[in-house]
């Protein structure tokens, strides 16, 4: 008997990725450039991935969304799509740290050991997460993402005995939805559909300025 299907979506970077998985098997995979001028391509990619896997939304066991950090708008497009699909059929929404989906370019799995997974956070910074990878490529632990200066990457990596991986690095890599197949279940958490939002990694710039000027946190309401 095949495992019930999971739909995974991640758009932490300007390349959104979608995969339909059954257990640790990737049944179909699609990618889409985010923020096209004339069309939004992630939703068509979701429909194509489901179609290629011959899975209807109602048949999904769950939707797993990349939970950031990353590109604010892209994260929100993926999250909004995930929420709409879940609401349509009462599906549970799960989140996985986007950096736990980091995989080397051209390969399905990370080598065993400790990795420092990195994503561009702009303004000279990167989001960094330490990943522990066991033999066979399963990601068993991911530290909470930290914002560090891009120039400090080698130092931080050395400090933790980790190999850096990310876009434009010697070990080129990026998050991929299909990588969910090799992420330990403990890193995939069920969310509350109504209130969930990704970890953006940064506050809105206007909020940062306001809080600096007022010396206190801005509370909604």
């Amino acid at each position: 008997m095949t495992a019930p299907p999971t739909l995974a979506i991640d758009a932490s970077t300007y390349l959104g990725t979608v995969a339909v998985l059954r257990g640790e098997t990737v049944v179909s995979e699609r990618e889409a450039a985010m923020r096209g001028e004339h069309e939004e391509r992630l939703m068509p990619a979701v429909a194509e991935a489901l179609d290629a896997a011959s899975v209807r939304v109602s048949e999904l066991a769950r939707v797993v969304c990349g939970g950031g950090p990353g590109s604010f708008t892209s994260l929100r497009i993926a999250s909004s799509i995930a929420k709409g699909l879940c609401m349509a059929h009462g599906l549970p929404l799960f989140a996985v740290p986007s950096l736990a989906l980091m995989r080397p370019a051209g390969r399905l799995l990370l080598e065993e050991g400790r990795w420092l997974a990195l994503l561009d956070a702009m303004r000279g910074d990167v989001y960094a997460t330490l990943l522990d990878v066991e033999r066979g490529g399963r990601v068993t632990a991911a530290s909470p993402p930290r914002l560090i200066a891009a120039v400090d990457v080698d130092r931080v990596a050395a400090e933790f005995g980790a190999r850096p991986i990310g876009a434009g690095l010697r070990q080129e890599g990026r998050p991929r939805a299909s990588a969910l197949a090799s992420v330990a279940p403990e890193l995939i958490a069920e969310t509350t559909l109504s209130s969930w939002e990704p970890s953006y990694g940064r506050l809105a710039e206007a909020q940062v300025r306001w809080e600096a000027a007022h010396g206190r946190a801005l509370t909604a309401g």
């Binding site: 096209g36 799509i81 995930a82 709409g84 609401m87 349509a88 939002e197 909020q207 801005l218 909604a220």
Partner: protein, 358 residues
Amino acid sequence: MTRILAIETSCDETSAAVLAGSGDATALESLVILSQDVHRVFGGVVPEIASRAHLTAIVPVVEQSLREARVSLADVDAVAVTNAPGLVGALLVGVSFAKSLAFGAGKPLVGVHHMEGHLFATAIEHSEAVPPFTALLVSGGHTLLLDVPEWGSYRLLGATRDDAAGEAFDKVAKLLGLPYPGGRHIEALAGTMTGENPLRFSRPMTRRDQQPGDPDYFDVSFSGLKTAVLHAVRERSLPPRPEHGEDPDAAARAAIAAAFQDALVDTLAEKTYRAARLHGRTRVVLGGGVACNRTLVARVAERVRPFGATVYAPSVRLATDNAAMIARAGLFRFERGERAALDLNAYASQPIPGMIAA
């Protein structure tokens, strides 16, 4: 009968509505509007904060709208969503959510232009507010004067050359030390004005010798009026308005607020009158947040009454951004056979579909 579930997230209101009917016979079954108060501290809408708030509000707002309408998603025939114009990041939450909800539920999707929604808003409450009519759409982002011979055909007659009407209210409110958004605060303050107002600002671009065809016959401009207010505040050396307690300069501020509001609404009333008269329309429809201003509604009605025209204005809930109007415009587009594809995108600006040459 068609039932539409509509979603609107173009600015700082997360809204969902359910509307059922056909043609111009429709019934609003529910309308939920969640306003984001957080932007007040910034004196304007912060796009990134608005977009984040939409994402955490969208599911509860849509669920509530279905609950209040006593229907389930299965009872809905189509999903309509605002996809332009507005804050792109904010719009994308509604658009992405609506696309996946419609796809997941196997329902058709319709993209709706926010300003076309405003044209339909009044018809939800007033069955006579249907074409042909002259429309004045006034909000924080737009000031449009349109002739509407029929739904889907919109002749753009005039627009603002600088600030939108609502924007002018907000800026003047700031000059007078009033909170954001400024419209209702200015109207309330102007209402405290007693006796003859010693202050009068000129009505921009309303010379008597203007002729139809002149470029400024229908257009408006409020930046000069705003500057006039600034000078009036400076000439009176008005100190900042106290945050608490009585304002010793309340009378002076009320005179400025009233003079500003008079100039703005008289200008809009004159332009609307010209449009209705030229096209022989006996119905005038107002829309957008500034249509909440009762002085504006009364002044336009007064100006067009001599040739027998009637003015229709929406209630406050339907004048400001809301999904009911998106449902109503979405129904029109749906009945015309229009369907959006899964690659539907969001746009900061886009002409209203069906614009015809003036």
